[in-house]
């Protein structure tokens, strides 16, 4: 049990952590992640990049759905907006990738106002349906506004140099994704310890009381949409770097469902939970693939024919199981485990 660790000033209380052990672990984790590309092959590295991008997107969604309580099924739409913004700006307009990535965030954030405004009057499932419709409108637009978006032919992005990194190399792309993820985590944690984050949670917990405490619902619901979509848009922009050839099919409904699954399985309202959820949901089909290699050939064949359905099935199963055993998600399990071991042998 950890004793003798007392917080003695408000400065320390506001710090993300004052515990040297936590700092040491965080440092070790970051170092390990930075060295990761040197240790593994290309396949694992590309999976890791997918996890990283998914984690950024999940943090974005969690700010909106987990923290502010506005359910969104529009993740695919915002990802698509960001992804196409970056890809088109680089491929057709010759923008440097650095600016094109930032632009992805801003375009996505501006688009979010389109559903942010109706969201002021909609709650719960009604909002979910609206965001779902928004997502379909975006992909429909991308498919049919051929003059702007190349429609069904997709967009090819080449010559990706980002602040001296060659993004066509998996290891360098990995470092970029890692850096963006770290920045996203810091920004999200900072938001949550200021009046902005508290306004978001206040709206989720009791919107009438929030208004009486001086929080403008209009301003903060729109802010939540914009911050969330900015982050998701950036994740979309990174997808353009990852795939280098993109088309609308990347952004189907399953993406939005999986994003929701990530934050539910990981832990609603938790930044660390978003990351855990992203790791879990991305690795789930990978783990199943590894397992099916052990199965009889006929079964393997069937599973690979229906890979899309199997993924959907697994995602649904993960949500149900997690809601049954631990509504606080993986981060809840982690906290319980931590509490158990810090109080051992006196824990119940």
């Amino acid at each position: 049990m950890r004793t003798g660790h007392y917080v003695e000033s408000y400065e320390k209380q506001l710090a993300l952590t004052t515990n040297p052990v936590t700092w040491a672990w965080t440092g070790a984790l970051l170092l390990g992640l930075a060295l990761f590309p040197l240790l593994v092959g290309n396949y694992l590295l590309s999976v890791a990049i997918t996890v990283g991008i998914a984690a950024i997107g999940a943090i974005g969604l969690n700010l909106l759905t987990g923290i502010t309580g506005l359910i969104s099924l529009g993740q695919a739409g915002f990802l698509a907006a960001g992804c196409y913004t970056t890809a088109l700006l680089v491929a057709d307009y010759g923008w440097p990738p650095e600016l094109a990535l930032l632009a992805a965030g801003f375009v996505s954030a501006l688009l979010s106002l389109v559903i942010g405004v109706p969201s002021l009057r909609l709650k719960g499932l009604y909002l979910a349906i609206t965001t779902l419709a928004f997502s379909f409108i975006i992909t429909h637009f991308l498919l049919y506004a051929e003059a702007l978006t190349h429609g069904p032919y997709g967009v090819r992005v080449e010559n990706l140099r980002f602040l001296g990194l060659d993004l066509t190399q998996l290891d360098q792309l990995f470092w970029l994704v890692l850096a963006v993820l770290v920045l996203t985590v810091l920004a999200a944690l900072n938001l949550l310890r200021t009046r902005v984050g508290r306004a978001f949670t206040a709206i989720r917990d009791h919107d009438v009381a929030a208004r009486v405490m001086g929080i403008s619902l209009t301003r903060y619901k729109l802010a939540a949409f914009m911050v969330s979509s900015f982050v998701v848009g950036i994740a979309g922009g990174l997808m353009a770097f990852q795939f280098r050839f993109i088309n609308v099919d990347l952004f189907n409904l399953l993406i939005s469902i999986e994003a929701l699954a990530m934050i539910i399985v990981g832990g609603l309202g938790s930044v660390a939970g978003s990351i855990l959820g992203a790791v879990f949901i991305v690795l789930l089909p990978e783990a199943v693939r590894a397992l099916t290699d052990l199965l009889p050939a006929a079964l393997t064949e069937m599973l690979s024919t229906y890979v899309y359905e199997v993924r959907g099935l697994l995602t649904g199963l993960a949500i149900i199981v997690m809601l049954r055993i631990e509504p606080h998600g993986l981060i809840g399990l982690w906290r319980d485990a931590k509490r158990y071991w810090t109080h051992w042998p006196l824990s119940v």
Binding site: Q13, N190, V196, R198, T201, H206, R211, I215
Partner: protein
Amino acid sequence: MSALLSIERVSKRFGGLTAVSEVSFAVPEGAIYSVIGPNGAGKTTLFNMISALFPPSEGAIVFDGQAVHRARTHQLARLGIGRTFQNLAIFSHATVVQNLLVGMHHALKANLLSAALFWGPARREELAARRRVEEIIDFLEIEHLRDLPVGLLSYGLQKRVELGRALAVGPKLLLLDEMVSGMNAEETEDIARFILDIRDELGVTVVMVEHDMGIVMDISDRIAVLNHGSLIAEGTPAEIAADPAVIQAYLGRN
């Protein structure tokens, strides 16, 4: 004493139902003012109009020289009106400190960008707010609870946190909607003491809707009595206790 809050011929109709009908009274600055009446008399409706949750159908509400009945709800905190709710309206997942910090929302300035960076002014104002919150925690004697999620506390303590959150707004006027309902005698006495201290030490004017006649008669300076949406009596506790219209509304004829 000048009036801090005046209710001027205020009515509220919901469709065909007149919940509040031409009610007028004035709350002097520095007073503890109670609004009482049987269930359905329109007390909470009146409170909701004072805190601008909805506008009156007719009449005006003037606070501190400003007509506030057309204001937006979130603007009232800045003007200096804090309130608690009849049913608990705390942010139950957040800790006591976080709940009180929400009350300080309008006093802080961080925007999205400065909050995400948490640097310079954004950090300094959080530190100052944290210090201010500690004063309220001290005042309400909830030091030992400060880092607990409010949802885990007993009902009485949750109400006390809600009171603290309303104080964190830094109000000139505090609206308390049935603060002590469901509390035991000891908790009620604590709250009565806090209300007196809030007025005497912090100089905050208090308006409360209350069913507990003990606390109303003990600490109120003046009382307004509503029945079926109309004001039937207004005066000091002694006057109200002797008023035939009040006795009839509460006890029936004779």
